[in-house]
């Protein structure tokens, strides 16, 4: 993150206060860390049983953006964190996310920076490596990215596709949007409806992973599960198509679809 140019002003590890890592001072509490460096965001890597605490500590310290990389946080805990974050107007990215990256400017996350190129595509995704796959495909085709956000692979996450679509709509750098969904939940269906009813102004292409996933089985991510008949890839793809969103058959098609749309001078 430091290498990428992110201004990391402080670290926090209880018991390590007073030390430093890569010349960044480390503190015993988030409040001390925040006060010392005037931070406005926090990124959490601590193991799942402690991550909820870390999130609340960041909320208490008044940080306005919280990225939770940690995977395997219990749903009951995530519900509490999101409830409070929403009340206080705090953006939570994750849990179980690779983070957020504004190409060439700032990275709060663990993405391999080299796959991203500066450009006009805003990317929101529910998975990590698949995001890199698709971003690399976009970059190879000369379609760079503005900002890439991993919503997170858990059933309860802070941001939905709709939240991100709204932000991309207002973002001048972003001229087109790629949504990378997967089975489970209904964020994709909600996004499709939002795009159709709001008359979304920027072209959108989507990919949905998990066409071959059987119902009732967790496909790696805690949130990637078809419950009964909700959360299937078919339902999401169908919803996107109805809303006029181009749906890629395979990851590399996302770049093709967006290139076509942008060339049409959408």
């Amino acid at each position: 993150m430091l290498e990428y140019g992110t201004q990391i002003v402080a670290g926090m590890t209880p018991g390590k206060g007073g030390t430093s890592v890569h010349r960044v001072p480390v503190y015993d509490s988030v409040q001390e860390a925040k006060d010392a460096g005037d931070a406005n965001a926090s990124i959490i890597f601590v193991p799942a049983p402690f991550a909820t605490d870390a999130a609340f500590e960041a909320l208490d310290a008044g940080l306005k953006t919280i990225v939770i990389i940690t995977e395997h946080i219990p749903v009951r805990d995530a519900v509490q964190v999101m409830y409070r974050a929403k009340k206080e107007g705090v953006a939570v990215i994750g849990p179980n996310t690779p983070g957020i990256l504004t190409v060439g400017e700032c990275k709060l996350g663990i993405m391999p920076a080299h796959v991203f190129k500066q450009g006009v595509v805003g990317l929101a995704s529910r998975s990590g490596t698949l995001t890199y796959e698709i971003a690399a495909g976009l970059s190879a085709r000369g379609l760079g990215q503005s900002t890439c956000i991993g919503l997170g692979g858990d059933p309860i996450v802070g941001l939905s596709f709709i939240d991100v679509l709204r932000k991309f709509e207002r973002d001048e750098q972003t001229k087109a949007v790629a949504l990378i969904g997967e089975i489970g939940g209904n964020f994709e269906e909600q996004a499709a409806e939002f795009i159709a009813t709001e008359g979304y102004s920027k072209p959108v292409a989507a990919f949905v992973a998990g066409r071959t996933a059987p119902p009732g089985k967790r496909m790696g991510h805690a949130g990637a599960i078809i419950m009964g008949n909700t959360g299937t890839a078919a339902s999401k793809i169908e919803a996107f198509k109805r809303a006029g969103v181009s749906v890629a058959e395979k990851p590399s098609d996302v770049a093709k679809l967006l290139a076509d749309k942008l060339h049409q001078g959408f």
Partner: protein
């Protein structure tokens, strides 16, 4: 983690929820003894941790201990919904007036828990939600104030109950909510929750699914040998090594890193007309050891004809992956053809390791998927 009905019932009973008197039998003889202890008509219920047992013939009603023994003999060792029955729950048969539905589950879109109830229980609730959504009562639960007694009363009333029955039902709902929260339930369900002919209520069937990510708070459930009954040898091995693995019915073994990428890989195989044999995510930052363990698992599936390894290194290093593949080769022998796609962190080193060992590496996922399917069609030799 899906608890068995008998485990869920024991939990519910501990919280003061009314459940029918029952016993767990592992042999037909035990079933007979318990039936005579109950001394009334009983239900003999297969203990498998999935819904829809009754329809699949997994629940038998009998009138005598001798019949209970016969029913247990029939069920024990048989397969219900593809899962081997290792025990039966012998339970007092309830005289039912009406079947209701109640559950607490997670509402992902609203980021909270939700109470779901219906005056039409004993059915597939999702089916009901689709065909007659007006018959379902849903109450979103505030994460801070929780589900209160007045919420419970409102639901009871909307199910058509008044006076004592309303308050009795409300108290059941509230206790049920306590179970759901205390056990980190992804789903806590009474289906059916029955009204008996004398106007009492009883949780005739219960389901409790614990959030796997919260199991560290529920150590009492971490070792459950009976779960082995529902897992394939590959799934068991994956569980032991901490790999995310799902068995499918095709012949193309798949290993990748990252849940989304692996799902997309399965989809690509199918797009090119192949049939995935499994989902296997080695996760982020997989070591050579993890990679070797993953290959062990996939190669041990007799249906697998060809293996496709799709790695896009971020925090996963390609050289570690390459070493893992060679390690597996040494350990188990690469008995089946492999197609490897390897890009990302330390890509050159990873490629060199494999190319030196005579293993060909591709860099397009889709090209590799196509090649894999071709190999699977040619019999994999």
């Amino acid at each position: 983690m899906r608890l068995f009905e008998y485990e869920a019932k024991q939990v519910f009973a501990k919280y003061g929820l009314p459940t029918p008197r029952g016993f767990l039998a592992k042999t037909a003889k035990e079933a007979r003894e318990f039936a005579s202890l109950i001394n009334a008509p009983v239900a003999v219920k297969s203990q498998i941790p999935v819904a829809g047992r009754a329809k699949a013939g997994g629940i038998l009603f009998v009138d005598s201990p001798a019949e209970a023994e016969k029913a247990a003999k029939q069920l024990l060792g048989s397969e219900v919904k593809g899962i081997k029955v290792l025990s039966v729950w012998v339970e007092e048969k309830i005289a039912i007036k009406k079947e209701l539905y109640f559950s607490i589950t997670v509402d992902r879109a609203n980021r909270c828990y939700v109470a779901v109830a219906s005056a039409e229980g004993g059915v597939d609730i999702e089916e009901l939600a689709r065909t007659s959504p007006e018959k379902i009562v849903k109450v979103l639960i505030d994460p801070v104030y929780g589900f209160r007694l007045y919420h419970a009363r409102q639901i009871a009333k909307r199910l058509g109950y008044t006076e004592n029955q309303m308050t009795e039902l409300a108290s059941i709902f509230l206790k049920h909510y306590r179970v759901a929260m205390d056990f980190d339930a992804e789903l806590a369900e009474m289906n059916p929750l029955v009204e008996t002919i004398d106007g009492k209520f009883m949780a005739a069937d219960t389901r409790l699914i614990i959030d796997d990510n919260a199991l560290f708070r529920h150590q009492e459930f971490t070792s459950r040998p009976m779960e082995e009954a529902e897992l394939t040898p590959q799934e068991l091995q994956a569980q032991k090594t901490g790999l995310a693995y799902v068995k499918l019915d095709g012949d193309v073994g798949i290993i990748g890193n990252g849940a989304g990428l692996v799902m997309a890989t399965l989809d690509a195989i199918q797009l090119y007309d192949g049939r995935p044999a499994n989902f296997l995510d080695v996760g982020g930052g997989a070591s050579a050891d993890m990679m070797a363990a993953a290959l062990d698992i996939v190669l041990s599936d007799p249906n697998v004809k060809v293996v496709f390894i799709n790695i896009l290194g971020g925090i996963t290093r390609c050289d570690e992956v390459a070493n893992g593949i060679l390690e597996a080769q040494k350990r188990v022998g690469l008995t089946k053809p492999m197609v490897i796609r390897l890009v990302g962190t330390n890509e050159e080193e990873g490629r060199r390791i494999l190319t030196d060992a005579g293993i060909h590496v591709l860099d397009s996922m889709e090209e590799a998927a196509q090649k894999t399917v071709e190999l699977s069609k040619s019999g994999g030799d």
